[in-house]
Amino acid sequence: MAVILETYSLSKSYFKKSALAGIDLKLESGRILGLMGPNGSGKTTLLKILAGLLKQSAGAYTVAGETDSNRIKGLVSFLPDRNTLYPWMTAADAIAFYADFFEDFDRAKANDMLSFMKLEPTHRVKAMSKGMIEKLNLTLAFSRRAKLFLLDEPLGGVDPVARERIVSTIIKTWTEDSAIIISTHLVNDVEQIFNDVAFIDEGKLILSGDAEALRTERGKSIDKLYLDIFEDR
């Protein structure tokens, strides 16, 4: 198995305030990592650095062995935690927009996924519900032939039916030669698709490992483990 992502003491601070304090992570191909932590723990900051949208203050990372940040951008597909599409766009416009931006964008896959998500190409973003916008953004993020997919809160504010669609899309999109990081605090809804979990708090990695090994070792679900760890903090 190839290593898709490796980070070395990745840190980010805003003036004196530290947002990430030395994150060391390693993710192999074919794995799905659940990145969990309370609001403000540094999840989005970490994902934005990996996506090349923020520059780290210290530390380094590689994606599929690549260190050049411009080339890394071509290997990483990022689903932001809020909608970034223009309201006037239709779903078809959004697909064309992404296809123009990304060389590795697969239009056929995007159209397939759109119909699986039960979205109409003529549907406008401004007339879409929160769940529909999330599904459209996920379609766009997953239609790239990327090595690393970063999904920031893909289930936030989405109803249970849409949530199930999203989870099954994640499983369908899974390939042996890419890796996926999903940040969430809706642990219970997705923990069964995680291979690896990483708990992060105040910019630090406080626990990480194989999800099944943690279940065996602790005799409890990742969801309960999350509550145990963060309840008293």
Partner: protein, 130 residues
């Protein structure tokens, strides 16, 4: 969506589900198991987890991989009785553990099991409405 008890490793639950299907006759020796991806989608779990379950089943001799064609239920004469015995043993072990935790002695456990059997027999005879 969450049909698994996430307190227990999921691959073990997938293995048990497949074994149950074999014992119940829904999967027969020589039958092909669903591909890792199909099974993952059906269970809504990570494909690696299904892969792990398949590997363990193979290690236990329940299934075998034929190169390039997938995983098949092993064609062994005593596969079904062996699995049935193994699973029955597990169910009984849990029952005994639970009864002991309630403070029952071994003799009392036997009495309770006999009484429960008797009760379920009469319930069945009266049409199962009781």
């Amino acid at each position: 969506m969450n049909e698994f008890d996430t307190n227990i490793p999921i691959y073990l639950q997938i293995m048990n589900s497949i074994k149950q299907h074999i014992v119940a006759g829904q999967l027969k020796p020589g039958d092909k198991l669903a591909s890792v991806r199909e099974q993952a989608e059906a269970f809504s779990v990570n494909p690696n987890t299904v892969q792990r379950a398949y590997q363990e089943l193979e290690r236990e001799g329940v299934s075998e991989t034929r190169r390039g064609t997938g995983s098949f239920i092993a064609e062994k004469a005593n596969l079904i009785p062996d699995l049935a015995a193994q699973m029955a043993h597990e169910v009984i072990r849990k029952c005994i553990e639970g009864m002991r935790a309630l403070g029952f002695t071994d003799a009392q456990i036997v009495t309770e099991v006999e009484r429960a059997l008797e009760h379920s027999r009469t319930a069945q005879n009266s049409g199962g409405t009781h």
